[in-house]
Point group: C2
Chain length 324, copies 2
């Protein structure tokens, strides 16, 4: 640790995380606020300012930069476009809007949330020894990031890495993007829950019924808990989802000649029941030039990856920097 | 044209093309030789030397570099690994092997054949005004190249752009790579011919029967000719293939945030009956952030793209250069 700090901010649909982060990815201080996305972009920016000021005022070491990860495409002008589940948000130059509110001349870096999470793994996490990999985050959506030669690969407009909307079955399940058979239409949490619920009706003996009754809803993590407890339905279902995930991953690895996948997000905890079948399916489907040294690893930073990556990116003053 | 020339060599499974090319992509002189791939790598290298010497000896302007496009992955050491349909060929450092045989100290550049073809379009062809696009070649195989910020994007080991082995239907048609439902397993010429033949048995009224009888085999270009002549079977079949192609393209554009596809190779001539349905299917399936300015164009250089791109790459002395 060299004493320098970045302020990393990860803006999610329900909460915003704020952290003071050192160059090696250590979080020195952190807190979270509700996003209040439903109150519109002005309110969200206000929450960012409120949470950021708290850490800026309390930092004992000077902060070198402020990094912000958000859902939605961050274009080459640093504008955040149409983040999903943020009503009223069109195209907003977040850094320019925040600067006067924060009253700072520190560099402010804005980047897509999956991109900053992948960057955390590249710089200080489980990909720090690798120049090229695919980062995938399994949450409500299925997001991703391509790390190319150690950097975030942004494609032509900043939207690269959208693995959730690659095809696994062009005539398959309808996705909310309008296409059929996107990876997210199977592995995204809402789809996975809906599909599991449908199947569960035909499996009265599964443990999952009781878990759903006590929990109120069928979240995918319950499936992992049931699988750990030996439930056959949950194990078979997660294995089936793993095979689909592996097919999607292999397709991307073939296209991009990537040999490593790092998986983050809520469902990355299901290593044995979801990721192990994914690994096998990926290995069976990838080109021979890739399978030799192919790996699938779980993220180091898990839910903190976005906050850490945003801070690291800001400290390196790369991408979408707004200077005073 | 500034008078400088590159020698571009495109090594295909049946013939090798040689050309003297200026910086703007004009071919000043060209010829071709049979590859004799079945005689092994030594014979192929011998043919390359024979054809290259012919142009080197006849060039009136000094040649600045020699570029070679070959099938197979060209790794980061400039070695050509397992080109498909080249028996006996394992991993060969082509530039190092050719240098003493050619007796030259010119830079020798070796790159994958789809990559050089895409590079020709990026530098002097239908993508010369665009910094980022996907190049796809529809031939025996389905190859491709990702142009990122004006350059070939090679992925971690030089194999990026393999769009033929991205998934369109994970439970679909078996591909010769071992996976199911790769784009190539539908759009690759052999698969397309086989599928058309199967369907044709149920369509005795099609014009294609007579064309196959006189031609001896069902090549996909016959389908385009039949479609142009008004044959319903051929039109429907190509439209179906176009929808599949469009699904594969949309998947890649979503992942890589690319807004332009340039299509080359034999079947790119079927603009109305194959590419137009592909364009529509792509538009229906791509993310909204992409569809606004999405385009599909036919290659400028068609079958000469590989030779031209190899020459241009050599003149710019980029990638895998072996220096004397």
């Amino acid at each position: 640790m060299d004493g320098r700090l970045g302020l990393g901010i990860d803006v999610g649909g329900t909460s915003i995380k704020f952290g003071l982060v050192s160059r090696d990815g250590t979080i020195l201080r952190q807190h979270a606020l509700d996003t209040h996305a439903e109150r519109g972009p002005g309110a969200v920016l206000g929450r960012i300012v409120e949470g950021a000021r708290l850490l800026m005022d309390s930092a004992e070491t000077p902060i070198e930069g402020i990094g912000i990860g958000l859902p939605g495409v961050v274009n080459n002008q640093g504008e955040v476009a149409y983040p999903p589940n943020f009503p009223g948000w069109e195209v907003i130059p977040v850094a320019d809007r925040l600067r006067p509110l924060l009253g700072t001349d520190l560099p402010i870096t804005v980047e897509n949330d999956a991109n900053v999470a992948g960057y955390a793994e590249a710089r200080a996490g489980n990909g720090s020894q690798d120049r090229n990999f695919l980062f995938v985050t399994l949450g409500t959506g299925v997001g991703g990031c391509i790390i190319s030669d150690g950097e975030i690969w942004r494609g032509s407009g900043g939207g690269a890495g959208e693995i959730g909307h690659t095809t696994v079955d062009m005539n398959g399940q309808l996705c909310n993007c309008g296409a059929r058979g996107c990876l997210e239409a199977y592995i995204g949490q809402r789809y996975m829950s809906a599909l599991a619920r449908e199947r569960l009706d035909r499996t009265p003996e599964s443990l999952v019924h009781a878990m759903v009754s006590s929990h109120g809803s069928l979240e995918p993590r319950l499936l992992d808990e049931a699988a750990v407890s030996g439930d056959r339905f949950a194990r078979d279902f997660l294995a089936e989802m793993g095979v689909i995930l592996g097919a999607g991953l292999a397709s991307v690895m073939n296209l991009c000649d990537l040999h490593l996948v790092i998986v983050g997000g809520g469902m990355s905890r299901s290593e044995k029941y979801l990721l192990e079948p994914a690994r096998r399916s990926m290995r069976m489907r990838a080109l021979r030039s890739i399978t030799g040294d192919m790996e699938l690893r779980v993220s180091r930073f898990l839910n903190d990856a976005g906050m850490i990556g945003a801070a690291l990116l800001a400290m390196e003053r790369k991408h979408q920097v707004s200077k005073a």
